[in-house]
């Protein structure tokens, strides 16, 4: 067994791992390593062949592979080491990372800093407890995406999509392009979980109906799926009797949510946020274990890769500073909570600010859709900051830069989203404080 030592190691070579490694190298970490279990860098981007990536990060519209390519080229221009086909088995406190690969066997890396960047995985049929038999032909949308876009298989010809997450919407169009007939998308919630642009360009463009407030109550078929039964649900998500109908299909694609792939963090004892299923971090993306940082979808599920890259750069810079002994201790830690109208907030705690720091960027998920709203910061029970939001959707992450002077010396910070008192002009949304 060979042993190595590095300043910063990222576990994962997708968008988060690549951006963290680059930022760490730029911030002065001399020996940086990316551990990637796949045969190439890029992560899930390589199967997301559609366009729409990079508008913020590169100010142009790229495909998933195109976005990945930019980062692969940037990594290639540095002396960052990349180990492909390498699966991490454990990353223990103290920075001992054990991995295995078919060409190098078991390897141990001693890292001064570790960045978790393992991404997320899809919720499966088991996670939504769908009744019925267990025939072939039921896939997660992302698994189908890999088959269609990278491996050259069509998973079915008469398709029903369960859940309205973005991958399901994208796959509705993709399957249509490949000659399959997509009969409908069924969403249990009264609103879509995908981006509005995807409802338009992936469903409406092709006349694919979206049924909101509908749940799958049975999956039929012995060897191969032959159809599903669907029923309407009430506002408590209970099935309404007498509303059931059948849809024939030979393929069911599930797009019912994503969960951080955080087994390594859990095994190491990282303190997790029960709602995001990712680590609880401070503004430097420090987890509860010294020298361990987290970024991207393993921390909280994003809808835009541009935000993943940006967040991962924060984690990478922090990891480099920790490796050099330059990242100050947390100091006084203050909790940050997602209050009324919100489901999640990242970071979940604040450490002492760096000297000269003007603002801190927070990422939120709304609890439910709302119209024009106010994002509020309540500091020790007093309203400290307000920002207008033109519209609020659980599927679209809210990102806000909060001025440090508004946070002040408060011991506890609670963010809320409340309805705006009056109609808000569209222009107000882009108004941000410096």
């Amino acid at each position: 067994m060979r042993e190595f030592s590095y300043d910063v190691v990222t576990i994962g070579g997708g968008p988060a791992g690549m951006a963290a490694a680059l930022a760490a190298r730029e911030a002065g970490a001399e020996r940086v390593l990316i551990l990637e279990r796949d045969r190439e860098l890029g992560g899930i981007l390589q199967q997301c062949i559609h366009n729409g990536f990079g508008l913020r990060r590169f100010e142009e519209e790229l495909t998933g592979p195109g976005y990945a390519h930019r980062y692969v080229d940037m990594i290639g221009a540095t002396d960052i080491d990349v180990w492909l086909d390498t699966t991490v088995l454990a990353a223990e406190p103290g920075g001992v990372v054990t991995s295995v690969s078919p060409h190098a066997g078991l390897q141990v890396v001693r890292a001064k800093s570790v960045v978790y960047a393992m991404g997320c995985r899809e919720r499966t049929r088991g996670a939504i407890r769908t009744p019925g038999s267990r025939p072939a032909g039921v896939f997660t949308a992302g698994a189908a995406q890999r088959m269609v876009n990278m491996e050259g298989y069509l998973p079915g010809r008469e398709v029903v999509i369960v859940g309205s997450g973005d991958i399901g919407l994208i796959m509705a169009r993709r399957m249509t392009f490949e000659g399959a007939r997509v009969k409908a998308v069924f969403e249990i919630m009264p609103y879509s979980n995908g981006l509005t642009r995807n409802i338009v360009q992936c469903l409406e463009d092709f006349g694919i109906p979206l049924y909101l407030g509908h749940s799958v109550t049975a999956i039929h078929g012995k060897d191969r799926v032959t159809g599903i039964t669907v029923s309407q649900v009430n506002d408590r998500l209970e099935v309404i009797d007498g509303t059931a109908f059948d849809v024939a299909c030979d393929c069911v694609l599930l797009s019912v949510g994503l969960i951080p792939e955080n087994e390594l963090g859990r095994a190491a004892g990282v303190v997790l946020d029960p709602i995001t299923s990712g680590a609880r971090v401070d503004q430097f993306r420090r987890t509860s274990i010294p020298g361990f940082f987290a970024a991207g979808n393993v921390l909280h599920v994003h809808d835009l890769v541009d935000w993943v890259s940006e967040e991962a750069a924060i984690a990478g810079r922090s990891a480099a500073r920790h490796a050099r002994g330059e990242l100050a201790a947390s100091g006084r830690e203050r909790p940050v909570t997602a209050g009324e109208g919100l489901r999640t907030v990242v970071p979940q705690r604040l450490s002492d600010f760096e000297p000269g720091k003007m603002s801190v960027r927070f990422y939120f998920r709304a609890a439910r859709p709302m119209g024009a709203s106010l994002l509020q910061l309540w500091a020790d029970g007093a309203l400290a900051f307000e920002r207008k939001l033109r519209v609020v959707k659980p599927s679209e992450m809210i990102v806000a830069d909060i001025p440090v002077r508004k946070i002040g010396d408060a011991a506890a910070l609670d963010f809320r989203v409340v309805p705006a008192p009056d109609r808000i002009e569209a222009d107000d949304e882009i108004e941000e404080e410096a």
């Binding site: 062949i49 790229l62 495909t63 990278m150 050259g152 981006l195 642009r197 463009d205 679209e396 569209a426």
Partner: protein, 125 residues
């Protein structure tokens, strides 16, 4: 007689997803409300007259590390010609290696739109 039709248009230009209205009088855009950037205004004006979409799909590759090469239209394609483009691309096969950005089909169907590779495909090892 002026025929005025108001179309509700959902912008797909970026993830913000502005919704707005476009009033068309006798085939000409007369007024637009609800869009918050120039890109959105351009999209909405085009959407009511001649809608276009970017097209992404795959073509077959032989001799590569992967069997498929993802491609993207260099510019948007008229909506009603999307499936014609897909049919054309279904019959295309290329040989590895392929470099990102390489033109796979030039001027598809005479539409003035090139289709380009969106990744490298190296030779199979």
């Amino acid at each position: 007689m002026m025929a005025r039709v108001v179309h509700a248009i959902q912008c797909i230009g970026c993830p913000i997803g502005c919704g707005g209205e476009v009033a068309v009088e006798d085939g000409v855009v007369a007024a637009m409300t609800g869009f918050t950037c120039n890109k959105g205004l351009a999209y909405a004006a085009e959407e009511v007259v001649a809608p276009k979409r970017m097209v992404t799909t795959t073509v077959r590759v032989s001799g590569g590390g992967l069997p498929l090469l993802p491609v993207v239209s260099a510019t948007p394609v008229p909506k009603e010609r999307i499936f014609d483009c897909l049919r054309l691309l279904r019959g295309v096969a290329v040989e590895a290696p392929v470099a990102e950005g390489a033109i796979i089909v030039a001027d598809a169907l005479g539409l003035g739109v090139d289709f380009r590779a969106t990744r490298d495909i190296s030779l199979a090892q």
